[in-house]
């Protein structure tokens, strides 16, 4: 997380795992001929899917996003969460969705690596070595 990060996608793939990304979920929607004018349309199926992960009182934006990220969480066997990233790093675009995703991941009980967003060389080294250790430990 963020689920659309180039860096996280690449590192997960590089160290021998299959990354579950937002791009995969988006690709299914924007190329699906059954959706009238993708990606603008949200189908009634999406709304139902979103409700599985968040109650009706939760803002529709969060439910809409969870309709995409939720099935990825169901599929996930482990997660990497980047903390304190700038707002333009990962266009999930909604802090509350991020919180909800973190909650759902913890609830699922899968191994989670929480790493701070690197701002210098030392932090980047720490981030990559930690991700490597975490992913190799999952094998």
């Amino acid at each position: 997380m963020p689920p659309n990060s180039l860096i996280l996608f690449d590192l997960v793939e590089r160290f021998g795992h299959e990354p579950l990304s937002a791009m995969k979920a988006i690709a299914e929607r924007v190329t699906d001929l059954e959706i009238d004018s993708p990606p603008i349309n949200v189908t009634s199926e999406d709304v139902k899917k979103g409700l599985k992960y968040a109650g009706i009182e939760v803002p529709s934006g969060i439910r809409g996003r969870l309709a995409l990220w939720g099935p990825l969480i169901d599929e996930a066997e482990a997660a990497i969460v980047m903390e304190d990233a700038p707002y333009y790093f990962g266009c999930v675009g909604c802090h509350r969705t991020n919180e909800m995703v973190k909650y759902l991941l913890r609830k699922k009980g899968i191994p989670i690596l929480e790493i701070p967003y690197p701002t210098n060389e030392e932090e980047a080294k720490l981030m990559v070595t930690k991700i490597k250790e975490f992913l190799e430990g999952l094998k």
Binding site: S5, I7, R14, A27, P118, K125
Partner: protein, 133 residues
């Protein structure tokens, strides 16, 4: 989507020429940050694996939601590029990630910095007194 780190000496043109030389049945598009490729999953995986070998720690890849040349995302056809700010940010960071990958390769031990704790109330009171008088 193949992205070249800013510290790499490889150019998008070299990447595209190399991809063509692989002779795979894939669509290739040169971009300012690298290239985009599309085709059968197996062919794309082989192409990405091979292209990475050109500069392993400075060539990165990820999946792209929209197909290559999709009008909704093509700038020439006034498509929007909502993910561009993130791509730009991540591209800047790739030089740091490259150093991280080198450290991981060498199994370098990187010391974790201790998180800064919160200032105690007594210390804060003392500082306030010192500043205000």
């Amino acid at each position: 989507m193949i992205v070249i780190a800013p510290s790499s000496e490889i150019t998008p043109d070299q990447i595209v020429r190399f991809l063509h030389s692989l002779g795979k049945n894939i669509t290739i598009k040169e971009t300012c940050y690298g290239a985009m490729i599309e085709g059968r999953k197996e062919d794309v995986q082989v192409a990405v694996r091979e292209v990475r070998k050109l500069d392993p720690n400075r060539i990165y890849s990820k999946l792209r939601g929209f197909p290559v040349g999709d009008q909704r995302r093509c700038r020439a056809l006034h498509g929007s590029r909502p993910g561009f700010t993130q791509l730009e940010k991540e591209w800047e960071m790739l030089s740091l990630i490259e150093k991280g990958l080198r450290a991981a390769e060498k199994n370098e031990k990187v010391a974790e910095k201790k998180k800064k704790g919160k200032l105690s109330v007594d210390d804060f009171k003392r500082i306030v007194k010192e500043v205000i008088g």
